[in-house]
Amino acid sequence: MGGITDIFPKTEFLILGIPVRDSIIQSWLIALVILGGALWAHKRFRTWEPRPWQLVIEYFYDYVMTLVRDMGGRALPEVIPLIATMLAYIGIANLLGTLPVLQAPTRDINVSAALSVVSLGAVWYFGIKERGAVAYLRQFLNPLNLISEISRMLSMTLRLFGNIMSGELIVAVVFSLVPPVAPVIFNALTMITSAIQALVFAVLTLVFIISATGVQSRS
């Protein structure tokens, strides 16, 4: 727990000359934990006498389903797993930063950029799947649409990165000023911001997907 510069991502080791940062290791660990937890929960799932963890998972899934339905994606049920995974992954990744020794992997701008590339890819995939390749790609004859796509991705990246980074920075600064109790308040604030940013990222992806497919206007 050193100075403020500790919260910037560090290079841990090199693979074939490519630097591997600690945020990459953390994000792989989170992905493995989510995957393992999902497989374990799938195996232990039972219809009678559901245990508390199963109820939590069902509540979470129901929440995402309601979210998708409210935003107008009733005709797109295959989008629910994507949004749920995104919400769980980014939520866990952001909330990792409030634990004492750990740091959120999304404080690295590369992780946020990778997540927004996933979001953009999902938008294109669902758009092409719903409307056909020619009909969907025809809109990019107008270069303004391409620019708006890129700037959308950029703003999603910077929003996630900036919020998480600023939260960590504020906690680090307050910790270096008043170590005893004061960081707790800012940690609580950071927790709220982290959860809301995960929700915002998922909801924005959902809104972009729905506007790209145009299912809302059809139904």
Binding site: F161, G162, N163, L199
Partner: protein, 90 residues
């Protein structure tokens, strides 16, 4: 690089960062206040839709907040990764 120039550089950077944080957060705070006031107004007027309004309010606030976050990012770049500092070898 002379010591006076380094001092000058850091003083200018600090002043600019402080001023831009202040100016950048003013508008975001004002607009967020307007959004929250409007949302609370409507929630008081129609309590039946208050849950939907609350859910949307958080999302919209986070999006409004992002303009202030951009200012913060610029300030962080100026403070910790200033491109001109590398050029002039500070």
């Amino acid at each position: 690089m002379q010591p006076e120039q380094i001092l000058q550089f850091s003083v200018v950077t600090t002043i600019v960062v402080g001023a831009s944080i202040v100016l950048g957060t003013i508008t975001a705070a004002l607009m967020e206040g307007r959004a929250v006031a409007k949302a609370f107004d409507d929630m008081a007027r129609q309590p039946s839709v208050s849950d939907q309004i609350r859910g949307l309010l958080f999302v919209v606030l986070a999006i409004l907040e992002s303009t202030a976050i951009y200012v913060l990012l610029i300030c962080l770049i100026l403070l910790f990764a200033n491109p001109f500092a590398n050029i002039y070898g500070l």
